[in-house]
């Protein structure tokens, strides 16, 4: 993936697994100096409020480590469920698929570079 990290969520996460994921991810961001993280949820047919919060948390952690997060591949049914649950995941970038996600990351990161004080 080059400068980006790709995380593919495939099964329903329960507490332990979620904590492990957060651990692994934050460590990986630091170790590889990644500037962008793509979370691929195209395999998930169902996302509950726990998952929603977890994604939100992971995104927050990444931001603190100076990495941008993009959530990709949400299925229509999942989007509808999240909206019904009142979870709009504000502040999290989204894209239709991994390819678009990478385009978005590059654009966002280059915007950042443009605005960095010289």
């Amino acid at each position: 993936m080059g400068e980006f990290l790709l995380v593919t969520l495939q099964v329903d996460m329960h507490d332990q697994l979620a904590l492990r994921l957060q651990d692994d991810l934050t460590n990986a961001i630091q170790a590889k100096g990644s500037k962008g993280v793509l979370i691929d949820i195209s395999a998930l047919e169902m996302v509950d409020s726990f998952m929603g919060r977890m994604i939100s948390d992971v995104s927050g952690m990444a931001r603190i480590l100076d990495a941008k997060t993009v959530l990709v591949g949400m299925q229509p049914a999942v989007a509808i469920t999240l909206v019904e649950l009142g979870m709009s995941l504000p502040g999290i970038n989204t894209a239709l698929n991994v390819e678009r996600g990478m385009q978005l990351l590059r654009r966002v990161l280059s915007d950042d570079d443009d605005h960095r004080p010289r």
Binding site: L71, V72, M74, Q75, P76, V78, A79, I80, L82, V83, E84, S88, L89, T94, A95, L96, N97, R100, G101, L104
Partner: protein
């Protein structure tokens, strides 16, 4: 049962009289009803009803018209009810087809039982009970037919009024017509999101020119759709905002959460094209 046999017997014995009197009632009623049935057709209907009616009576059971003995009578009445509904009759017209048979039958029974008031009373009671049940059956059948029509039309309306149109590679439009309630919002969201995945579109334009009023509920539904789109990585533009709607939105304090709005579809399309990096040049 003596009473039933007496009805069946009376029918057989005085068939012509009863039929004549009944037809007379039917044709008078038909002249003043909301629908139109030719007199020849009425006669045919009456005769057919007689046939199945007499057959059912011969079974000897008049208490349970839901039973198999009365299946043909029920089927005839349901068919009649359906055809009359289509011809523009009201439900009372179809029911009175059955009820108007009472008077001729009472008259015939009276003449046959002049010497026996008890027998007469029982005969009249049985006829009343029987014809009431059959009359109610036609009304129920009529109503069920109408409900079927309404349901079908509602379904068609739902399907017709939420088409998702591809305006350009990557741009979808959803012209919404009519009031937006939760059922429609659900359908709109499902079909729109599905189309986004299929066409890999980035922008969806929701055109609300055809939405008469936007209150807080409708605004909520719109925002739900916008949020769902955003979650899937697509962008939303709302077009067709009329002046009254703009006023309502501000008065209600609805927060559009940064959704871009345009007055008409043309402007929305221009913006969408710019966003995906397409330009046109005039030759």
């Amino acid at each position: 049962m003596g009473a039933v046999n007496s009805i069946a017997a009376v029918l057989q014995k005085r068939h012509a009289d009863i039929e004549g009197a009944w037809l007379e009632q039917l044709t008078t009623a038909s002249a003043s009803s909301s629908g139109r049935v030719a007199n020849e057709e009425l006669k045919r209907q009456a005769q057919e009803f007689f046939k199945v009616f007499e057959q059912a009576l011969s079974s000897g059971r008049i208490d349970a018209i839901a039973g198999p003995e009365w299946a043909e009578v029920r089927a005839f009445l349901e068919d009649l009810s359906r055809r009359r509904a289509l011809a523009g009759f009201g439900s009372e017209d179809t029911a009175s087809f059955v009820f108007s048979l009472k008077k001729p039958l009472f008259e015939a029974l009276r003449q046959e039982n002049i010497a026996d008031p008890l027998q007469l009373a029982e005969g009249i009671w049985n006829v009343t009970m029987l014809l009431d049940k059959l009359g109610l059956h036609t009304v129920t059948a009529y109503q069920r037919a109408r409900e079927g029509v309404i349901n079908r039309q509602q379904q068609e309306l739902l399907e017709l009024s939420t088409p998702v149109v591809k305006l350009w590679d990557g741009i979808l439009a959803l012209p919404m017509i009519g009031t937006l309630d939760s059922a429609r919002t659900q359908i709109v969201m499902e079909s729109l999101l599905q189309k986004i995945v299929e066409t890999e579109s980035q922008i969806a334009i929701l055109d609300i020119t055809g939405v008469p009023t936007v209150d807080t509920l409708v605004a909520q539904h719109l925002l739900k759709t916008v949020t769902a789109l955003r979650l899937m990585g697509a962008e939303c533009i709302i077009s067709g905002v009329r002046p009254q709607i703009a006023q309502t939105i501000v008065h209600l304090g609805v927060d559009l959460q940064g959704v871009t709005t345009k007055a008409n579809l043309a402007d929305a399309l221009a913006l969408a094209l710019k966003r995906i990096g397409v330009t046109f040049s005039r030759q």
